[in-house]
Every structure is written in structure tokens, then in C-alpha cells.
Symmetry: C2
Subunit: 474 residues, 2 copies
């Protein structure tokens, strides 16, 4: 056993199984702060954030991940154990009291080190230091220990819950659309292929004339870029449905807005046949989940949000979203934007310009040229426009895309033939054959929503384990 | 335009934009049955399940996917539109009334066909016919239209919600662990490799000396077999955490209990250092979610559950789970089971025998030989056993696996070296270095839970789009 290791090998004498510990009820700091129990004998478990020495006592701030707040422990100096330092995990027992400032604190009877944190061995974080996000991102396995990132993850968890809750209350069923799929939906994004790692195994399974990629499923199989087409199938028996899960793009993009693996919320409203209703539904959804998360995570958000992000969220919650059609959007950009004029779709700069032009209020851009949008969007009568919408927001540009779906069998069949996709999507076409209904829906990039909500510059800091080109750590 | 297509091309004359339709509020059948509004003018949208002709009226049962119930429409014969048949989608307007049996029904003023269902064109389902699951499974894109499968999907949605709700109330944070990962966790299951489909793209990205599979991320990347190791990292800053999402196995198994893509719930309890607490937590979790789903989906479950499944669920909810250690389990099997004796771990037959032996009550088998279990399980003092648990249940055998995690730095390092995994898992080992804590956790196969709850024979009928060897439809 090397010398170095000795520090981490837990020193036996410290592990005292003092029976008093088990007699105390363990409480989470979030619960203590919510219920403010006075004079309660309790145990708290968490990580040391600061240690301040006073005359007779040590004042130790502990956080346990349940909330952004640190809880103050008052420990008589005589009871200080070895290895008490920033980053150590501890169990403390004592009685809750109110200090002169009216704050709840724990008068400790004992403090036990669960795990020391020997900084000289390479712990990347230091107490009272605010590390930049790029630095923290290098230590994915440890970054839940930082205040900022743990706040983000609590908000992420609350926002997920809020999405499920809102859609469920609105009567949408949660559908787990597949990750592995033979369809690549939009034919637009770059996709990942999946095949078994085991080669001998593959050879056993492979049917004559098939490639390695086709061996397991008898066809090439990709990681999903969208669950929409599958949702449309489900909506034709179950009514309105949604899916919320991981989505993949194999693009070589390292932008601050792109990940190779990200989360998308996709909702499909049964019997909805027009853009007006879709816009109403999208705006209501976004206002609702934002309001709920803002209320529920108020303390975490306060730690992260700057004035700019606060303004964005305030506008989003309180102001009606702007609506304009693609032609209007283009002419505003071409008249007032000092950057490049519109040639095809809108680029990120143009998107952000539009939102700023309208006072940083989210903007629905509707009625897009057919050529700019995927095959499944509904052609508007007597035009070459489709009933599509992009929702543009401050800070990130496009947050959602949606459309009324083409439910006319003939038009859809012609379109699929024209783009050479009729073969793999025969099932999708067939949905329009038997008891067909109109549907409309949208997708929202979940990480971009978090970027908007918190003013996070880089999308890599919104997800626990970010994946982007040349980076798949852990 | 071919003759065949004409039937599906919606016949123009039927699309009457009768203004009265928009004046009626659309209600879901679930909401009507819950609130029983009498004399309310409403519109209902859904699919025709049966049409019965009486003297003056047609009696039409409609289902809209919001619940298992069909709602009866009474339509004067004179108002019958063309194409009214089983499977057609319709919108009906009228007034809710109570019939002589006390059932709510809709006295229709008008019925509009939204989409006809021309059976001669190949609609695979027929009215009043109960199709076997193997037959229904061939039509993944249409199977949400069958009563049985739509019930399963509503229960699946409710069970997901219940899992999120329960764990959230217990203070667990929802973590989205990655699908793409460079770790394959257990080193046990067969894994899928992922790489971009686009070859030119790949060549641009590939660094010198790397293979095609390594081009995008600079290393081989797999689809996750478990989020546990990632959860352990998160638990060391956030406290207790869970993940609930898709998981992958590239095995060549077509059993009634295996899928290539399935859902797993994995929970990791921070500061939990012993099997007793883990068993309590698992039992409480399973009893709670089962009870909630059983109550919430009572009508859907009644449609599906046979007497056997009802007994299993009743035992699960009401009886305390059995606990025995691996040695005891082996000796019971070796003494009383007429099938094969235990040689290594337990096989499916032996698992099911044990559960039957204890009166079809779930059985915790604890304290397993180290050699049979993954590296991360905690070695019990002075034994070659690990603090592991398998939860065995009727119908499916193993439903959950869990353990106290090895948090001793030295023991874990030795183990990783011994099995030759120390390199890729240095980050995992390092979690034990800085402010280490004990954690315990378990994983539950979500589809197996649904099989148990509903007595579903084949796991392929519990998930919207099943994937198994040689099968990735849609």
C-alpha cells in the first residue's frame, strides 16, 4: 500500500460507531428550513462548505444537496475531529436552535467525519472560490459538489417534473418513443448508427447479404432525432400524447447551443387542425412551466440568474408572445438588421435580432415556405407555404419548432414520392388511411429552455454529462 | 390518381364546416365520465367502436383514448353519414342525457366523419373481435387503436408518473444519466456501439490512428446498460438521486422477458450504508407505486388482469416481502425443487420456484457470493459475500437488483485492478477520495413491473415500440 493511498484509506480510529448517532433522526436541510423545528434533536449529513474559528466554537457551514442553502453548525472547539476541512463529508448530531439573527442553526453534540477531503491529493475545488464554468466542466464526476452546478441540477429536475405534471394535467399521455429506430424522421440532421460491439456475436446473427450494421436488426438502425412520427401513430388511438427524453445529432458542431445528446419535449395534440390553437397551446405550456419552476426554485434561481436573464423570464411569463409570418419577419430583418439579409431560412443572428426588435419578448414566426421545412408539415391552401411555427426567444434563438401535420393522404403521398422517402415511411402514410384525424404538435429543446431561464452561456452546463464532438467523458 | 386512393382521399362533400360544431365545447370522454354533466351541449371526438341499428336511432359507441370506456351516442337514423363504420374517426355534437340504465349518453344533433376506415383496404382490426397480442404486435403503428394496448399504454403512462412522483416526494432528484457513454458499467451485458452514419463526415473528424468507431468522440462509445455509476457521482453532491429512462442490451435473446431497448428505474440513496435500509426502501417504493397505479387505473387494469395477476398484485401490496440469504435460497431449491440444482447463480426457473415456494409473495435474496456479482458491490466484513439483493417476484422472476456500494477506496481499487478495469473507471474510484459517503441503490426493470402488474405474458406488449433481435419496426 503506497504512502499516498493512506490518506484516503479511511483511518480506522475515526469510524466510531457512537450509538447516539443512530438515536437521532436524520433530516435534510431543505426539510429543516421548510419546517423550522426548534429544539429538535437531529442528525445532519452533508459536505463542509466553510469552517470559521471563533473563541470557543467552530462555525461550520454544511450543504447536503437538498437545497442551495448552507446550514450552520456550532461545534465546541474541543470536539473538533481530525480532517475537518472544506469538502469533507460529515455527520453531525445536535439540537436545532435559533441564533440572534433569527437563523436556524445546529448546536452540535458531536461531529463525525464520514469521508475526509485531502486537497493536496488533487481535489479540484477550493472553498470560497468561484470557479468558472469551463473549469468546473473538466470535472464532470465531481461537479455536483459545486454550488452553481448543484443549483442547475435541482432546477433541471424541477423543470422535468413540471413538464410531466403540466402535460399530464392537460390530458396528454406520456409515451416512451424509441431511441433505436429505422426511421430518421426529418432526413435533416446527421444521425448516429447503432450496432452490437461483439463481432463474433454479430457474425452469428448476420443474415446473408447484410452488412455489419444490419446484422442485429436486419437493417440499419439509428439513434432517434425525434419521436414525432411515432407520437402521431399513438395519437390516433390515445388522443393527445407527449414524449420527453434523449435525442441525438451526430453533427460536428461545438457551438454553445448544440449537444450530441440532448433532451427534447415533443407534444402532439390530437384533433388540432390549425396554427392558432397550436400557438395558444405552446404559449400556455411555456408560461406555465416557467412560472412553476420560477416559484418552486426561487432560491436556486436567485443564485444563478443575472439581470438580463431575469428580464427575459419576466417578459416570457408576463407579456403575450409576438406573432408574425415568415414574410413579415424577413422584411423586418432586411430593413432593420445591420447583419446579413435573409437568403433562405433565418440564421441565429437574425433570430436573436428579431427577438430584440420586439423588446426581448418571445416571437412566433409562422407560415414558412414549404421548401424550408420537413415533409410532414401541412400545406396551406392555395399557397406554397406550410402551417409551421418557430418560436424564437432571447439568448438562444429557436427554442421550439412545430406545425400542423399534413393529414391529406394524397398530398402526403405525393410529397413522400417527390423526396424519395415513400418506402420507409409507408406506415406513416398509412396512418392517414384508417380513421384519420388532424394533429398538430411541437418540440422544445429542454437544455435551451434552461439556458434561457438561467441565462447560461454554454449548453454544456445545463446537462449532467454533456456529449459533443471529441468529448464523451465518463 | 388511382381508383384505390379515392377511398382515402377525403371525399370533399363530407367536409362540412357546419358552424354549429365550433360552438360546442369539446370534452374528453374521461372528463365527461368523471364530472357527469347533464344536459350539457358538447362535442366528442374519437373512433367508432360499434354501431347498432335500432328502430329510429343508431347507437354508436365511441372511444377517444382518454379512458377504457366507450361512450354511447344516440343518432337519429336520418342523420347517418356515409362511411360510418368501425374504426372511423368522428366528431359528434349533441346534449348529454342519462338513459334508463342510469348511463350517460349523447343525444346527437349531428355526426361528422373526420376520417373513414375502409376495411377492404387492409385495416387489420375488426369490431367485436378480440385479436391475440401476437397478431396486434404486427401493426405497431395502429395498435394504439386496440382496447387492450391502449389500456396498457395508459397504465404505462400512469406508472411512469407515479415513479417520478413518489421519488420526488421522498427527496430524490431526477438525474438524466447519459445514453452515450464510454463506460459499460457492469462489463456484463452485451453493448451497442454508436458512431455517426455519415462516412465523409467521419473521415474529416478522425484523428490519426483512430478507428471509425472512435472518430466522433475520440473513443468507442456505447449505449448505456445502467446509469448507476453516474448516479453515484451525482449523489456525492446532491444527496439521493434517481434516473428513469431507456437502457440497452445487444444480446441475442428473444425471450418473453428481454428487449434490446427497455426502461429502467435506478435509485441511489445517499448516506445509506446497509442492506436492511435498502430492503425497506425498495419494498416501500414498490408497494407505493403499485398501490397508486392500481387505484388510478382501476378500470384499465380490470380489462387486462386475470385472477392470477390479481393475486400477485394483492400479495405484493398487502404482504410483507420474504427475506432470505443466498445460502438459504440455494438449500431450499436444492431440497425442494424438482428441476436443476443450483450450480452458480439462480436461473429463471429457480427464481420462480422460490417465489411460489413462499406463497407467491415477493422474495428478497440477499448476501450473494462476491464472484456472482459486479465489482461495485460492498464486500461484507470477514466473508466472501457482498451486500447485494435480488428481488424475485411471481410471473417474471428477477424484478430488481440492488446493493450497498463498495465505498472503501482500497478494497475498490484492488478489485478494479484484479478485474482489469482500473483504467476507464479512475473517475469512479476517485469519488471515494474526496468527501466520500456511503450509498446504496437498486434498479428495477419497468417493463417487467408492468408484466407483473397486468399478468402480461410477453414483454414486447408492454412498450409502444419493442426492439428485439431482427426486429426494429418503425
Amino acid at each position: 500500500m503506497s504512502h499516498t493511498l493512506k490518506c484516503f484509506w479511511f483511518p480506522k480510529p475515526l469510524v466510531r460507531n457512537v450509538s447516539t448517532f443512530s438515536e437521532y433522526k436524520n433530516l435534510r436541510i431543505a426539510d429543516i428550513l421548510a419546517t423550522r423545528p426548534l429544539g429538535t434533536q437531529t442528525s445532519i449529513k452533508g459536505w463542509v462548505k466553510t469552517v470559521r474559528k471563533m473563541k470557543d466554537n467552530l462555525f461550520i457551514d454544511v450543504n447536503d444537496g437538498s437545497c442551495p442553502d448552507k446550514f450552520q453548525i456550532v461545534l465546541p472547539k474541543a470536539l473538533k475531529p481530525d480532517y475537518l476541512s472544506f469538502g469533507a463529508s460529515v455527520e453531525v448530531i445536535g439540537k436545532t436552535t435559533e441564533n440572534v439573527n433569527g437563523q436556524l442553526e445546529l448546536r452540535a453534540d458531536e461531529l463525525k467525519i464520514l469521508g475526509p477531503c485531502i486537497h493536496s491529493e488533487g481535489f479540484p475545488f477550493a472553498g470560497k472560490v468561484s470557479h468558472p464554468p469551463e473549469y468546473i466542466r473538466k470535472f464532470l464526476h465531481l461537479r455536483s459538489r459545486t454550488s452553481a452546478f448543484s443549483s442547475i441540477l435541482r432546477i433541471r429536475s424541477a423543470a422535468s417534473r413540471s413538464i410531466h405534471k403540466y402535460l399530464s394535467n392537460e390530458g396528454y399521455l406520456n409515451i416512451h418513443t424509441p431511441i433505436l429506430t429505422a426511421n430518421d424522421c426529418e432526413g435533416a440532421g446527421e444521425v448516429f448508427l447503432a450496432r452490437p460491439e461483439n463481432d463474433t456475436h454479430l457474425k452469428d446473427m448476420m443474415k446473408h447479404g447484410l452488412s455489419c450494421e444490419e446484422a442485429y436488426f436486419d437493417k440499419k438502425v439509428f439513434l432517434t432525432v425525434s419521436g414525432q412520427l411515432h407520437l402521431e401513430a399513438m395519437a390516433r388511438g390515445l388522443g393527445s400524447v407527449y414524449t420527453f427524453g434523449p435525442t441525438f445529432r451526430a453533427e460536428n458542431s461545438r457551438s454553445r447551443l448544440h449537444l450530441s445528446e440532448f433532451y427534447m419535449l415533443e407534444a402532439e395534440a390530437a384533433f388540432m387542425d390549425n396554427l392558432d390553437d397550436l400557438l395558444k397551446m405552446m404559449e400556455k405550456f411555456i408560461k406555465n412551466i416557467t412560472t412553476e419552476v420560477a416559484n418552486e426554485c426561487e432560491r436556486d434561481i436567485r443564485m444563478l440568474q443575472d439581470e438580463e436573464a431575469k428580464l427575459h423570464v419576466n417578459n416570457l411569463i408576463k407579456k403575450p408572445f409576438q406573432v408574425l409570418n415568415f414574410n413579415e419577419a424577413c422584411s423586418i430583418i432586411n430593413q432593420h438588421f445591420e447583419g446579413p439579409k435573409v437568403t433562405e431560412g433565418l440564421n441565429k443572428e437574425q433570430e436573436l435580432f428579431l427577438v430584440n426588435y420586439f423588446g426581448k419578448v418571445p416571437v412566433f414566426v409562422v407560415e414558412w415556405p414549404q421548401a424550408l421545412k420537413p415533409f410532414y408539415m401541412k400545406l396551406m391552401p392555395d399557397t406554397l407555404k406550410v402551417a409551421a411555427v418557430d418560436l424564437l426567444v432571447p439568448h438562444v434563438g429557436e427554442l421550439c419548432g412545430g406545425s400542423v401535420r399534413e393529414n391529406d393522404y394524397i398530398l402526403l403521398e405525393q410529397k413522400l414520392k417527390r423526396i424519395g422517402q415513400s418506402e420507409g415511411l409507408d406506415w406513416y402514410l398509412e396512418l392517414r388511411k384508417f380513421g384519420n384525424i388532424p394533429t398538430s404538435g411541437f418540440g422544445m429543446g429542454f437544455e435551451r429552455f434552461l439556458q434561457l431561464l438561467l441565462g447560461i452561456a454554454n449548453i454544456k452546463d445545463t446537462i449532467p454529462f454533456p456529449r459533443w464532438p471529441h468529448n464523451c467523458i465518463l
